[in-house]
């Protein structure tokens, strides 16, 4: 099937790429990574993970090791985000007992320099340029997202940042779809109130 899709030239689906990987095509996993790594990192970063890159890496490593368990009953993206969400929960539990700041963790949001980078290269030009790139909206948005309850935050991140459908979110979070929609509406309402000056 995936050979036919390759001959025709259609963009293969995630499930087809996963099937290719299980048949021995390692490059199919590279394609899957390129498709979903950034959206996954955005979701993971909004979940409060201290090192989102590590979570993204662990998520894809789990996909590779447990690829034989993927039966195609769920969408690959749902499976991927379910793994990422569980890893975020585990990471937040571990970080709860961490007292000091990590040198590898970004100091401001996701894109800010790590504490180690700031100690070694504390130049005001680079900090100013990065702040200019992010803008005030990003800062306000991240602050507003941090204030959201976890359930509403993960629904909003999956929907608006990662582009999952409500059905996929419901499956990934093991919730009713109406519950997911209700959480989404509360998250939208809270963000609108918090970012009233920026929209």
């Amino acid at each position: 099937m995936w050979l036919l899709a390759m001959v025709i030239g259609d963009d293969p689906t995630d499930e087809t790429l996963m099937e290719r990987f299980l048949d021995g095509d390692a490059r199919a996993m590279g394609t899957l990574y390129d498709r979903h790594a950034r959206s996954l990192k955005a979701f993971v970063a909004q979940q409060g993970a201290a090192r989102p890159d590590d979570v993204v890496q662990d998520t894809f490593l789990r996909v590779i090791r447990n690829g034989a368990g993927f039966k195609g009953q769920a969408k690959f993206r749902t499976w991927l985000f379910t793994i990422g969400r569980n890893l975020c929960i585990d990471a937040s539990r571990r970080d709860r007992f961490r007292s000091g700041p990590s040198l590898d963790a970004p100091t401001r949001g996701d894109e800010g320099p790590t504490l180690g980078e700031r100690v070694s290269n504390d130049s005001p030009e680079s900090d100013a340029s990065r702040q200019a790139a992010d803008g005030q909206f990003r800062t306000a948005f991240e602050e507003a997202m941090a204030k959201l309850p976890t359930e509403q935050r993960e629904v909003f991140a999956m929907r608006e940042l990662s582009g999952l459908s409500f059905a996929e979110i419901a499956e990934a979070t093991d919730c009713n779809e109406n519950t997911v929609k209700s959480r989404m509406r509360y998250a939208l309402k809270a963000l609108r109130d918090a970012l009233q000056d920026h929209i």
Binding site: A37, E111, F141, R192
Partner: protein, 397 residues
Amino acid sequence: MVRKPTQDPQTREALEVLAEYERRLAQGPGTLGEAAPAARDEIDDYLRLHQRVAALELPAVAPSVRGVVLGAAFEQVEKQRQESGFARWIKALLRPGPMVVMMAGAAVVLALLVRPDRHATPESPPPEAVAMAEAPPAPQAAAPAEPAAEAPDLPVEAAAAAPAPAAAPAAVTPAPLHTIEAEPASLGPVAADGTNKGLAGQDKPAAGKKEWAAKDDAKAAFGTAPQAAFNELKAEKNVEDYPQGLSDDGFAAPPPARANSAPEGQLAKQASASAEAEQQAALRETLGSGRAARAEATPSRRPAPSSAPAPVQAQAAEPDATAATIAKLREQVGKTSDPDARAALLGKILVLARKSADRKTEQWAQAQLDSGTAKSGAKAKMAAPADEQVPAESPQK
């Protein structure tokens, strides 16, 4: 599954607003919605928020992460290739489908191995027949007996277990006895003390039946080895039951019908007569074969295993011919003065006397040999004819 509509007004309102928000997102932020004006303003705010969030660039992942992920992917693919064929075969075999097929095959093989007809030995009588033989007669035995022609109908196992009459005469008698015992209703009315009075000559008490059943059990227990001795005992028992004696040809004469044991109805008469005739035939065969076996076993006290039974008339004439030969040899002994020739003649007489079970002549010949008239060399010659083992088929030799 039909999902019930949400009854909570807040949830219902949230769902309506979100449905309008999604619809306007799909059609474009500039389209007017169908919601109420208050909700329309709210949805417009959501659409503006969505535009600002979508304008944010997604965070990039460090390039090293991609290298790690791709390296792990290549490693996993290589690991799958190196997996042995045996492991793949085991994995394929342990799936539910092959497991069900294997278990079904094992069940079929097990059922064939423990099939009950393989354990049934031909010598052992069927347990149903033994149980019915020991069971008391049925109370409805006063009813007219079944036709005797149905009496020899054996169970399938008993028929298969019964050997041919000519090949093994000892196994002839149990079959009709089993049949009669297995069908007590065919024997006619039964008295209160268990005595069956319906068949002439068969008015034995229930204890007699138990004795026969015990013999059958003993036969089954000891197998085929003591079969000949058992049948001899059975034949003697039959002779004792019919004390009127043997006929001229050596067979038991049919017992006279007694007035007090006569069957009541015509059907019972026919049944008893038929069954009686079959028993008589079985007795004849048993007695004849028993005598033949005894005559063969006499010289060496052990029957020849492959010798077929001789004709009855020839066996009846055998003792006379042997006695004549012995008398002739005794005359020659009296006439002969040579000790070696005398010893040889005495040895022949000894052999013939042993063969014909003539103890008197045997003792005489032995006494003559031991009395010293025979020399020491004659004893060696006496042993030679004893070893010759004259076959039973040629008694004149």
